[in-house]
Subunit: 405 residues, 2 copies
């Protein structure tokens, strides 16, 4: 079967390599049919590439080739990926992608278009890179009500936080190391401000609860304000700070979804996820907690998930019904600050007795070099708005959510 | 669609409950078709059970009911489960199970019979209880060559080892606590001698490498010889002892598969799997390490995996091709002691200088109350047979494999 790859960056070139290196396992899964890359779309020149004869700069070469049945979109970004994907689906070709931005923004439309045209739109690689999560979650869903999801969804920020936690490296320096190693881009905004994790939360929430969640519905906070002082206080209580995407079921008509730093205590499985690794914890009413761990990015890991989707699309000429969800509405994602109760880590210029007077329970934390006018503590369970009200008039230095995962 | 449940023990009764509690999510996955339990097979009487009208003691009631399309076998053991399953498959009914003993012993025959009769034989719940592992592994396999698998596959032994590691409880006492809590059976042999983990290794190996592996091909050692002294030495090096099932790819014609205690070092994901939890780590050439974590047993967790399989069987009238493997041969699983190189933990009555003379590298370990004539160390990498040869004439107290997972 002829297949095409759009975008020859890290993921796209990885897809071509993985297909070539795994002919045997692929054909085992397709009943003998080989995936043959017939076109690679990229505007750049790759004159010394071994696949140079396959390149085209004209999208129509792929669109108009009736023999191309499956296309991997590895271009990234919403445009022109959205336009190309729509045209391909309407032309009866299945499309698979690792493009979380596109799925988070336009997934509903693309899934509906795939359905109308009897083809597949698959995006296992868009969340958790090579970690199987989209299909396993669907499997869990068949006999569970999902109560919540918490994920370390961005490898770059997890690398930075790990450096801060394990090597006492300050944020700016840790970011620079991540950039030097190629884990963070020159403009690291999408990672460190949590936008990348936000897109993945949208995809997970849409799948888990059946209604599309858009990035602007998910309150998102990055890791730029995390300091070594906070890391140190939290370590004294056996915890670590992770950038978590969290989704909570409230009712069939309401969920909460938010991204931000969160304290996780050992021995939670999420607490020992280090470096560029990702993990997604799904809490079901029957299965309890299940957790999926692996490389959330990286050329061959992500490419292997894209290729697995290509194999799946090649096997199934009819549309698989499992990957679909409905439209949500603007009130579907509620303000977590008003609805979700949790403990908080608080650092403030304040006295211990004042803190004790404000909260029912406070667990004080310490750190080396702690100034005499600074305290840090974990509160009892409350909403973030309740917390902020209690803290009115206090000189707050930092607050971080504490998870129950 | 009518479905039947055979065996009304922990898992079987859980299956009935999960179906009743998740009608909505089930019908979402079956395009509106409800699973309706029409028969429950059990030889015991359940006069006060709310489903008492559904019970039968005659297997033929299920076999001969043409409307029953999917049957959950939750009887356990090889007989009569094997006979019943064969008859059901031949009668054109799909069968799903959590029965690892049956799949490990007779999986090949049952899968072939299912294939011949155009129905499904599914067993997601047979490994890792509620953890999705069989399908995700199949997904990984499409674009990866699996290099190895390591799993904490038995919750009872992991509970006992966790008690030993975290609370300094001796093996006998920890076993008694596990029995009191209902985690271990009155006769705990299958768990503590590793037989249960061995069956799961057989299923994982068969699926991962495409040839059936039988329990008698897997060298299996339990945890009864593990002492608090070993736990303590290994803790001093940042490690823990886990009962691991391990599978290693050698070539397309040879694998190694073995079950036994193994040292895992933090921060491996496997090191922080505590209590009755299970985890399975799969190492692929493209995806790297992925790890699946959750409750490996327990009524509703296991039942939710069985029900997910029932939903899958109900959706797919044709046989799913993915769950099949070929016959192996007696030389397919090689003796790991002669082929797999790894470091070992050794405890012996011996001098340090003698140990240094025997091995290229030794990392000495210590413990509180260590006798002056006892040493413990981690060796360099070698096969178990090479190790035993070097240790000839030494008074060996304990040796434990060290993993690279």
């Amino acid at each position: 079967m002829k297949v095409a790859v759009m975008g020859y960056g890290t993921v796209g070139s990885g897809v071509v390599e993985v297909i070539e290196a795994h002919k045997k396992s692929i054909t085992k899964h397709t009943d003998g049919e080989m995936l043959e890359v017939s076109h690679i779309l990229d505007l750049r020149d790759f004159e010394n590439d071994p696949h140079k004869d396959l390149f085209t700069k004209d999208f129509n070469d792929i669109l108009n080739d009736g023999e191309v049945k499956v296309v991997a979109e590895a271009m990234g970004g919403v445009n022109p990926a959205y336009d190309f994907t729509m045209k391909l689906l309407k032309a009866g070709k299945s499309v698979v992608t690792s493009n979380k931005e596109l799925v988070a923004q336009k997934g509903l439309e693309l899934l509906n278009t795939a359905k109308e045209n009897g083809v597949n739109y698959l995006f296992e690689a868009s969340v958790g890179g090579g970690i199987p999560i989209i299909r396993p979650m669907d499997q869990c869903l068949a006999a569970n009500n999902i109560l919540g999801i918490a994920g370390i969804l961005n490898g770059t920020t997890n690398f930075i936080l790990t450096k801060m936690i394990e090597e006492d490296t300050a944020f700016d320096e840790a970011l620079k190391i991540a950039q030097d190693k190629g884990y963070a881009e020159k403009d690291p905004t999408a990672d460190i401000e949590g936008f990348d994790a936000c897109r993945k939360v949208c995809i997970l929430a849409s799948l888990a609860f059946g209604k599309h969640v858009y990035p602007n519905q998910v309150e998102t906070e990055g890791i730029t304000k995390i300091t070594l002082e906070d890391v140190s206080y939290i370590a004294s209580a056996g915890g670590v700070i992770k950038l978590l995407g969290q989704i909570k079921y409230i009712s069939d008509d309401e969920i909460a979804a938010f991204v931000g730093p969160a304290v996780v205590f050992h021995p939670s499985q999420l607490a020992s996820v280090n470096g560029v690794f990702n993990a997604i914890l799904v809490r079901g009413d029957a299965v309890g907690d299940v957790c999926f761990y692996g490389q959330g990015a990286g050329k061959s890991a992500t490419a292997s998930a894209v290729v697995a989707d290509m194999v799946d699309a090649a096997k199934h000429t009819e549309r698989r019904k499992i990957f679909g969800w409905e439209d949500g509405n603007e009130n579907y994602v509620v303000d977590y600050k008003d609805t979700i109760k949790m403990p908080f880590y608080v650092r403030a210029k304040c006295t211990e007795s004042k803190a004790k007077a404000l909260f029912d329970e406070v667990k004080f934390l310490t750190r080396k070099g702690q100034p005499s006018d600074e305290i840090a503590f974990i509160t009892d369970v409350m909403t973030e708005n309740e917390l902020m009200k209690k803290l009115e008039g206090i000189e707050l230095i930092a607050k971080i959510k504490v998870t129950d995962y």
